[in-house]
Subunit: 197 residues, 2 copies
DNA sequence: ACAGGCTCTGACCGATCGGTCAGCTAATTT
DNA sequence: AAATTAGCTGACCGATCGGTCAGAGCCTGT
């Protein structure tokens, strides 16, 4: 047995993330699913509707995470706990995040993508408040864009058969080092030390 | 006076990077340049030819960098010097790198992009040799994909009017901390220290 | 004055795009 | 058994895609 609607969502998500929304035709999605183009448009009345359905869970989860985040300022422990939660989000919705990051600007006319763009901006505002230094803003951009890219390119980078737990642990370590506040002496040290090699 | 060919290359590069190769029509490029679609196809006999011309300088420079790199193993000082050189490359060819990173896999049938993919693989092999740990490979992916994303999204991240020197210095600091060998004690320290907050 | 490039253009081509529609089949409901 | 519904399909639509082509305008060298 199979669920055509769910299959189509998964296929569309993979193709949209890999070849781009504009670069993926309904015909191609139908072929991969073993259906006709008409069948795809039976389940989802338009290409845009299919996109919305494919990314909706990621949008919902991201909204939920951000709302819980913005009600309070985080302590150092809370910040680390959030990072762990956010890494789980990245691992589960890597394709969606990759889409938002790389195709968000060019798909602003699609409402659901516009909401995603807004979420990214809000996340950036949390990590790098208005008072943040340029380096801090850069660190956030590198962490977000880099994680999304790396997680969607594991095979080409040569560690696609790595157990999830190991990926998760390493990602938390890397992002923690990258995103810890610049003012934090424990984090300000390394770059200086390394420069002085 | 103006140089239509050079203008078209620059416009095409910006559009290809922002909206994707598949998502950018020749007509749109022509409109931005103030020309007709036919004129674009006069200067570049096909869309693919235009893409090749737009990214060729980046390919050449990248090839040159890699060839100089692969003839020898780098010392710690040499590694830092290379990183500085590579950051300059990233700053100058940010759009091209962003294209290779995000559209490379879906444009393998375009010869010039296939060469770019090969260059990225060779760079990855240099930074994270076969013996490298998973975390090291992840760090490389995050650094490369993150830098390309961040540099192409400065405006949306809120530091688009930052002087280049400051961006350059911060990027070197960040990438140094990210890419220094894991075995290096000077670099292994920070993530542990931060985890222990 | 004339000839030959260089730049540019609109008209046109086949292919593909997203999307509509009438109708087929098999399962479910009544 | 009859009627309805869900799932799916091919034929078809207008728009847009990348690309071709014959020629118009212009500038230069002779």
């Amino acid at each position: 047995m199979s669920n055509s609607s769910a299959d189509l969502r998964a296929i569309a998500l993979a193709e949209f993330a890999a070849a781009g929304y504009a670069g993926t035709s309904i015909h191609r999605i139908a072929d991969i699913a073993g259906l006709s183009k008409s069948s795809v448009l039976y389940h989802y009345s338009s290409k845009e509707t299919l996109l919305e359905a494919a990314v909706a869970p990621a949008i919902d989860r991201m909204t939920q995470i951000l709302e819980a985040l913005e009600v309070r300022t985080l302590s150092a422990e809370g910040r680390l706990a959030f990072l762990s939660e956010f890494v789980d989000f990245l691992l589960e919705y890597r394709r969606e995040v990759h889409m938002f990051i790389n195709q968000g600007p060019s798909l602003v006319d699609v409402p659901v993508i516009d909401r995603a763009n807004d979420l990214v901006v809000r996340l950036a505002k949390f990590f790098a408040a208005n008072t943040a230094s340029v380096e801090e803003k850069m660190r956030f951009g590198i962490a977000l864009g880099g994680a999304a890219y790396m997680l969607c390119t594991q095979d080409s980078l040569g560690f696609d058969n790595t157990p999830v737990d190991e990926t998760r642990a390493a990602l938390i370590t890397i992002l923690t080092g990258l995103l810890a506040p610049v003012g934090d002496s424990a984090n300000a040290a390394p770059s200086i030390t390394v420069n002085g090699i």
